[in-house]
Symmetry: D2
Subunit: 273 residues, 4 copies
């Protein structure tokens, strides 16, 4: 008597031991107070680059919109519900783009790659949302000599440095940028028929975050540096890091530090077709 999948429940591999807990399925999630779950320190910086070069890293159906500005966000999170109060960190690399499908249109942020320092959200995000998540060592951020300093590495090879200096308190942006949300490409290769595609879908996380409050925001001068790697340094992702390192930095576009509280029941993602 093999098992049956319980209807309406989310599963991830391995599926053989029951529905899988995670950010979108948690024993006590219903009564959760979203306003007070998770505290996040976000350190961000951006740079203007060459539109034609950036365009080469957009999948079919997407076009650049506005200025070709690459944004790198480090999010250091603690008090996460679905990790029983633990935390982890993530890095988003994104730029503005629009998607035009057969039925759907959307514009907002295109997430090209995400690094996280914990395998569990990497697995959940890839499988359930199509988050392009990879693993990196992400040390705790530090403030030193007037700058907030962030970095990321893999097996001792540091591939990304970001710093924000000359900080001053800033009001929250008065008008929220027009955005439908954050868009990704959910992709799965086919087993056995190597080189073929099993799944290719555009997914979106809507921009609304009604339960998140900003406690403090500062802006300053940002600096981003990706370090080129050999296959020996980063055998599973030298191509990602080198593509980003090769984007020309035409102009820095400022940096910011944001302390915020709250999260949302992250089940609002959907497929765009």
């Amino acid at each position: 008597m093999s098992y049956n999948f319980e209807p309406g429940r989310i599963y991830r591999m391995p599926t053989h031991f029951g529905p899988t807990p995670g950010p979108r399925q948690w024993p006590d999630a219903d009564g959760r107070d979203w306003k007070h779950s998770a505290r996040t320190l976000t350190v961000s910086a951006g740079f203007l680059t060459d539109a034609a070069r950036l365009d080469r890293h957009l999948p079919e159906g997407f076009t650049l919109i506005g200025e070709p500005v690459v944004t790198v966000d480090f999010h250091y999170m603690t008090g996460i519900d679905w990790l029983a109060g633990r935390g982890y960190s993530m890095i988003f690399v994104s730029w503005p783009a629009a998607f035009t499908g057969r039925h759907d249109k959307a514009s907002g942020k295109f997430v090209s790659v995400i690094w996280e320092n914990l395998a569990d959200p990497i697995i959940a995000g890839r499988d359930e949302i199509g988050h392009p998540k990879l693993y990196a060592e992400i040390p705790e951020p530090r403030f030193w000599d007037g700058a907030q300093i962030c970095s990321a590495g893999w097996m001792g090879f540091r591939f990304l440095d970001l710093a924000v200096s000359e900080l001053g308190d800033a009001a929250p942006p008065s008008t929220r940028p027009q955005s439908d949300g954050t868009m990704m490409l959910k992709y799965l290769p086919r087993t056995g028929t190597w080189g073929e595609t099993e799944i290719k879908q555009v997914t979106i996380t809507p921009a609304e975050e009604p339960e998140t409050a900003v406690d403090r925001r500062q802006t300053g001068v940002g600096a981003i540096r990706f370090h080129r790697a050999t296959p020996s340094d980063l055998p599973t992702m030298y191509h990602v890091v080198n593509a980003l390192a090769d984007l020309p930095i035409i102009e820095s576009r400022g940096g910011s530090i944001t302390h915020s509280r709250g999260s949302k029941w992250s089940r609002d993602q959907r497929v765009l077709a």
Copy 2:
């Protein structure tokens, strides 16, 4: 001008920076000497359990065959080609089963869960093969007081202990067990329509390993213990560990230690339908 997928090349998320290197796609893989890549120390033990209880963790299409013996294998690997000579460790929990599909039949080893201590092979294995891989801390094995000692934990909670003692040199098994290979369930949930299935496929890795040589093999007395966990201890996988901890250990089925060399071009996996 967005990018196109190069035909015949394997991609994983993020797909935007070119084909993705990994165990099945590596710059210099063609001329590789499989006999000398990777060294593995395997420490294994098994136990006889209750067939009815085990059956509840088999997906549709599978039935138990032979004795209901759960085997836990720790593989400690070094010198891995596609990691530029680095290593990592993995734990397989499996039992004998047969699959009957509409077209295909196979029998061999059913892999219920795999733990690894490196995110990169977790991502590659889940996406390309359907390996049910999760992350665990896996300390280096140690030999102490007459026993080879292995363990695994997550964020400081040790959930698995395995030891093999009273070791004696053993000949390699004279007849290889009849097996078509190692079978898994490749599963992906659907984004947005929560609780629905995007992909559900049975996959198999054929048993042949022509380039692997065993340097030394010892057998002894095995002992396995899964430690029950609360959601607070293991919020993303208490259900997996507890299901295994709840399987009755009717009888220990011996243990072994194997030192081997070599690997194979792991592109022989396929979908069973």
Copy 3:
């Protein structure tokens, strides 16, 4: 031409490359704003134990004073000057005692053992002050299910759990406890003549912390548990953990959580004789 020690400068091994930077010697330490360096989250709990049992762990010259209450403090620190803004965590196990030397008398807190999760302050503290520091893995604290949860382990063996629950805001203690400071035994064995003593001194850190401000303080119900270990589990410190685990817990003595800012130029330690 061998080198000379620069007069008035602090050295630690290796001494061959110049004076050694650290908590008591830092390039720009003079102008430092102590009020704003380091943020600390302290989670504490205590228990009443048997005086006679506790007394066995006091060195010559010390006597218990007041109630025999063992206090365990977890300090999670960030923004540390002499680590260029990085942080680390420490655990103090202490009880009240008085020291009577030939010349000096002092009473306050006797620190029996300290665990830290970074080798650099372990080395500096042992050598410069006589801090009885050992290494432990100390995960970030987490708040879950109404409790602040702390733990410590070594190579995957968790040897200490501490939790504080039923928290309520509390005023800072109205009267500071009468204390001359924190006392330790600085000890160094003699090389070659095994079993003999090279250095044995009582040291003290005065209690004053004029630049430290408490941002928030909560009190609640504390719970402490040391887990007994075998030599195989903790080969370098099973004797420490087991001695603490063997102290009877006659009564819990409450717990607290304190958020504070600031540090001091930690050069006020001295030898008591």
Copy 4:
């Protein structure tokens, strides 16, 4: 009733819980089979440098002998008795020197700094022998593209690379170099009287290792690189790494890889006066 130190037993801080286990004091050390405890992979390389520059890093009483060649040895060890079968890695930076004291004369290897990736032997070695040990992250060595590759870092900053390539099997050195052993400076600063010295002694580990057998030895072309660091990168040891990085590499002096077994009861160290 405070405790007394048991005569003839080695103690380290904290001394309050009984004699301290370690490499020179272990419950079952007497009957130990030294031939089979510990396996070591040693990867070494050296370079000729400027004698005058090197001399500046020799303490009083020492003079350079022979050629001013700096040797860097990475030792990757497993199966260590006093760690209950666990392992760790260490890096020695040394050069040839002679010591002339009031009574003693010795010549051999002067160890300027040692890095290890485990705090427990750092503490034991510093306190009991005067080993100038610091902490570093030392990834497992890897063989890739014809070279054995070693590295070391701290909090994500890689400060040392060593590689040995063009390897060929080599006989063990036919004549052991004339050496009395490995010499160090055991140093402890004085608490309170900052800048004064509590202990300064020259110590030696005799060269004899009667129970160690070499299983395989290869020689090749070595390459060493220390990476200069800022105080922000390596706040506790930029001065050490920069002093080594600043030594001119006049000529590479070959490299080697050695696989060996066995250890010794490491109680033969003594003070030279």
